[in-house]
Every structure is written in C-alpha cells, then in structure tokens.
C-alpha cells in the first residue's frame, strides 16, 4: 500500500482542490455578496446589510418565484406524462432494440442545449419550418404565431428536460419484476389496478428522481424562456442573470441565487426522506 500513498494523496488532493476552488469558494463569495451593499464604482462595498434579502420579500419578486415554480411544475408534469409511457414501452421492447432507443434519448445531450434551443427558434418562428410545413400541407391558411408564446417555452423546456425524466424512470421500470404483474393478474387485477397498485408504488423512487431531475433544473433555466418566450415573463433564472449582467446589482443577484439554492436544497432533502421511506419496505 506504501506505493499507492502518493497516488492517493494526489487523487484526494485534486478533488479537494477542485471542490474548494470551484464549489466552496464561489458559493461563499455569493453568500457573502448577498449581505453586502451595492457599490457605485465597484460591484460591492463592504458594509453588512440585509437589504437584499428584504427586497426579495417584495410581492414583485414573489411573483417571479411563483412564475418559475409554475413553469417548472408544468414542465415536470408533462415530462412525467410523456416520459412514463415511453420508458414503459422501452422496457417492453425486445432487449436488442433497447440500447438503440436509449441512445436516441441520449444523443441530444451531445449538442449544447443552448444550440438546441436556437434550433427550436428556427423551427417555431413565423416563417419557420413548422409553419412552412403546415402551410405546404394546406392545414393552415396563414402562419401561426408560435414563437414567443407560453406553449413555446414549455415545449422548449420539455425538449431539454425530457431525457432527465426518461432515464431514471427507465431504470426503475427495468428493475420492476414482471412476475409481480403476472401475480397481480392471476389474482384478478385489471390493467388500471395493476398500474396504480403495483407499477406506480414500486417505481416511485424512479418517479421522484425523475421529477427532481426535471423540476430543479427547470427552476433555474433562463435561456429557454428568453429565446422561446421573448423574455415576457420574468423567471428566477432571468432575474439572477439580469442582476449580475444588466442591473449590476450583485448583492441582490447573490441573495436571489442563495434563495434558489436553499429552495432546491429543501426539495432534495424531501426527496432523500421519501426515498429512504420507500426503500425501507423493499425486499433486501
């Protein structure tokens, strides 16, 4: 083991260095910045104040938060409604088809989601691909107003976040013992009963994980609403970005960011509690 000692030191050291430099310090700076005053020449002046957090309680910003929560929630529900049947069908396919379809789910990750969102702009704009296709087919007489609408934002979010829902659901459904479904049928259960009483409870950890993985990023995702929604509705993500880049109010931006982090932390904690409860009853 002596030979291994330098390696261990380097490996652990690198991780510590990485976490401290790129996670702990920036977060500390953000937390500190949130308690400072806005400066006229510099970004911040070193004077302690709770002003930034007080401003957060303004109904205007509460509305921004609710807006973000609403959008993230709608996206998550739609992802679940689309992702569950997809993941379920995936597990029912012959084993040789599954890797291919999973690959198709993953391939979009190879392109930056920002680029993909721009691609959606091209598809959705007034003289974009979708409108041209519909005009060509004679289904509509004049181009539809698709871009810069609520549905466009949701479609964009859905497109970006759906894989995060499908993958954990697939993992959970894959593990589901098919014999349990047979047993339920044997005892007289129809499809609905089997789904509600066997499939959903047994894949609940996967469902919750998928919801977390779509809801949390959905809360902070600002560029989709910007590009596809025309920045009409202000979201938490946009608010933070604007405070840092346009308004140059770093303390307020930092405070908003801390609030978002705390909110996400609470949700993750709730997830941890629920998954622990779910695993307690499972077979060893």
């Amino acid at each position: 083991m002596r030979i291994r000692e330098p390696f261990k030191l380097v490996a652990v050291g690198t991780i510590w260095f990485w976490l401290i430099t790129f996670a702990l310090l920036p977060n500390l700076l953000v937390i500190i910045a949130g308690f400072l005053e806005r400066g006229s020449d510099e970004f911040v002046t070193f004077a302690f104040t709770l002003d930034s957090y007080r401003r957060l309680l303004d109904p205007l910003y509460l509305g921004v938060l609710l807006n973000s929560l609403y959008l993230a929630a709608v996206t998550t529900v739609l992802c679940l409604l689309l992702g569950f049947p997809f993941a379920y069908l995936l597990t029912r396919l012959p084993t040789r088809w599954r890797p291919l379809l999973l690959l198709l789910v993953i391939i979009p990750f190879w392109t930056s989601s920002l680029v993909r969102t721009y691609a959606m702009v091209i598809i959705l704009q007034t003289n974009g691909l979708l409108n041209q296709l519909l005009l060509e087919l004679g289904l509509i007489a004049e181009p539809l107003e698709l871009l810069y609408t609520g549905p466009a934002v949701i479609a964009g979010m859905l497109y970006t976040l759906l894989p995060f829902m499908i993958l954990p659901l697939y993992a959970a459904l894959e593990k589901l013992d098919r014999r349990l479904i047979e047993a339920a049928r044997d005892l007289g259960a129809g499809r609905v009963t089997i789904f509600l009483r066997i499939v959903v409870p047994l894949t609940l950890p996967g469902i919750i994980a998928g919801c977390m993985l779509t809801f949390l990023p959905g809360l902070g995702m600002f560029y989709v609403a910007d590009l596809l929604g025309g920045a009409k509705a202000l979201l938490v993500g946009n608010l933070i970005r604007d405070q840092f880049l346009s308004a140059r109010d770093w303390p307020f931006g930092a405070a908003t960011s801390v609030m978002l982090t705390v909110l996400m932390g609470l949700l993750l904690w709730a997830y941890y509690l629920s998954s622990r409860r779910a695993s307690r009853g499972a077979l060893p």
Partner: protein, 369 residues
C-alpha cells in the same frame, strides 16, 4: 361439457423453432392432487402457464370446469398460482398481499379482515400480518404465497415448483402441510416439480413428462412399479437396466436370456422370439447372497458378482456390484434382523457374492436406445 375440472385436448405450444408441448391430453378430476413431473424443459411449467392464462396454446383446447379458456384472460379465470419465486408484492404487508385478491372482488371491512386472517391462520402466519415480505424467511414467504392464492377460493390451485427454494427439512415439512391443506380445502392442486420423490409422496396422480409429451399418467404406485417406458422407469427413482433377448415366447410369459442365464418372466407387452428387451429391476428388489449361502442347486439360477462400492446410508446400505457379465447394478439392502443372508451388512469392496430378484417384481420393456 366435461365432467373434469381441467381438460386439455391435443394442446400444443411452440416458441419459435421450439416445440414445447406436443398434442398433450390431460384430464383432471375435482379435488385431485395432480403432479406434473419431468426434467427442466419438458413443458410442465408451460402447461401451468397455459392454465393460468399467461400463455396461449398454439393448438388444441383447454377447459376449466367445462368452460373454454381460449379467450379468457388470467384475471377472469377461477385459478390461482403459487409462483416459484413467490412473487409477493414487496411494498405491501403480508395482510395486504393476501387481501389483494379479495379486495378486487369488492370484499371490504370485517368480511375482508376475517377472510384474510383465516387464510393466514391456515398457514400459521397470523402474527406476521403486518410484516413486509422482505422481513420473512423463505419458508414464511412461501406460506404467504399459498395464503394469497387460496384466499380467493379458486377451483384449481397451480403450484409452480413452490418448494424448490427451500432447504431439505423445510421442504419435507411443507410437502406434508401442502398435502393436508389440499385435503382440507378440497381444491384441485396442479403441482409442478422435477423432484420425483416429492411427486410420489404428495400426489394422487402423476403425469411424467418429457420433451413436451406426457410419457405416463397414473398413480404414484403405477408410475413407480409399472413404468410404461424406459424414460419413466429411469426418471422416477433409481432402476437397474439389463438388456436381454427373448428366446421362447408363451405370452404373457417369456424366456429371456440375460447373458449366460435364461429366466422366465412375465410381461404385459407382447414379444416375439429374438426381440431385444430391457429388464428393469429396482435396487431394493435385488437380493444379495453371500458366497457361503444357498445350495449349489439354488446358485445355478443366481448371477455371480463382485462388490464395487459400499455406501452406508444409515437406514440402508447401498451396494454397487458388477456382474461377472460386466453390468453394473445398484442395490439397496435394508437392515433386517430376520434376514439370515445379510444379517450384518459389512460388505467389503471386491467381495464375491450372488444376486437375484423376486421374479415378477421386474418390469420388461421393449428395447429402446
């Protein structure tokens, strides 16, 4: 209509290029304990899955209580299955597992409670009602699976190798419990196993299966004592196989030459002079004579042999002996104080002895390769 609880007529089943059932016919009477016995891959589990409705037959008809099963899905059949893996719902308590079926029949409240607890009491698990399956031992899970099935009062209970995951002692105990349970409930049991001892000790009738066919269907005694073919003879219990040739035929008796001896034996099959036959003798039917026993006259009809192996088994001593003609035979000798011949069973390897058997306890079958 048929008077049978279960009737299979010319049922066949094909998976791709694999024929797993070939024209199977089977009739099961009400209240019968029937065992499907065979090596893995013989199609016994497929029959169970066809009866439960998880598979569709590719040919033939299946009737349960006279009702054609072809279009009936599993959830509408009056049969329940005890799965090999138990398939208990891990997220539900023992009580909820057992209550699953009755709840679907809209049984609620006190009636539900009473029925579920009755079933749990029957398998002696009433104190475990609030546990999750993961907190139970293998034997207890097995019992929950049985309770979960019988609580629905099915006409037929299908059991797919339900004891194969249990250790020897527990398996023995469960065999007895299952048999008693079946008598008490009066439900028809269709039991699938590859364990011939299990099949013989539990069943009213046994269907011995091989490569998608039923080789023999009869009582355990018929199966063991008069196997109809070489597969059944060899699969069920241990048996010695001597090949011989018919030298004189006066049906039903035949003179059969076994190496240098000719024996006169009875068979339900008809043979002609010159036919090759298999003479099958169970190890416990062979009689051992030690060198100093018997008169010369008696010895003329015995087969000389030498001991190859002695296996002490507690209640018996098993000998592997080689006849001078070259055949290997296994014999089982019981400790028996009245038997002057083998009063003490300390045989030595290489010891010379003589062997014969009680004539007419053997089975003679046409020669098969």
């Amino acid at each position: 209509m048929s008077e049978f609880v279960i009737e299979l007529r010319n049922v066949s089943k094909v998976y791709g290029a694999n024929t797993v059932l070939r024209n199977v016919n089977l009739q099961v009477q009400a209240g019968e304990f029937l065992t499907l016995l065979g090596p893995s891959g013989c199609g016994k589990t497929t029959i169970l899955r066809l009866l439960a409705g998880f598979e569709k037959a590719d040919g033939g008809e299946i009737f349960i209580s006279g009702q054609d099963m072809r279009t009936l899905p599993p959830e509408e059949r009056h049969v329940n299955t005890v799965f090999q893996s138990y398939a208990l719902f891990p997220h539900l308590t023992v009580f909820e597992n057992v209550a699953f079926g009755p709840r679907l029949k809209s049984i609620r409240g006190d009636a539900l409670r009473e029925r579920v607890m009755d079933a749990l009491r029957m398998v002696k698990l009433e104190e475990f009602a609030s546990r999750k399956p993961g907190q139970l031992s293998g034997g207890q899970q097995q019992r929950v699976a049985i309770a979960r099935a019988v609580v629905n009062r099915p006409r037929v209970l299908l059991l797919d190798e339900p004891l194969s995951a249990l250790d020897y002692k527990l398996r023995k105990a469960m065999q007895l419990e299952l048999k008693q349970l079946q008598r008490r409930l009066g439900i028809t049991f269709i039991f699938v196993t590859h364990d011939q001892e299990e099949a013989l000790s539990m069943s009213d009738r046994v269907a011995v299966m091989n490569t998608g066919r039923i080789e023999q269907f009869g009582t355990p005694r018929q199966i063991y004592e008069s196997p109809e073919n070489l597969f059944v003879a060899c699969f069920v219990g241990e048996i010695n196989n001597l090949s011989g040739r018919v030298v004189a035929a006066t049906p039903p008796r035949y003179d059969i030459r076994l190496h240098d001896r000719v024996v006169n034996l009875k068979s339900k099959f008809t043979f002609a002079v010159g036919d090759h036959v298999n003479v099958l003798i169970r190890p416990e039917d062979l009689r051992i004579w030690r060198e100093h026993e018997g008169s010369d006259e008696e010895r003329a009809t015995l087969f000389p042999a030498a001991v190859e192996e002695v296996v002490y088994k507690g209640s018996t001593v098993d000998l592997v002996i080689r006849l001078d003609s070259g055949d290997l035979l296994s014999t089982t000798q019981f400790f028996n104080e009245d038997d002057r011949a083998i009063m003490n069973l300390d045989f030595g390897v290489g010891e010379r002895l003589f062997v014969d058997w009680v004539h007419d306890w053997e089975t003679i079958l046409p020669h098969e390769d």
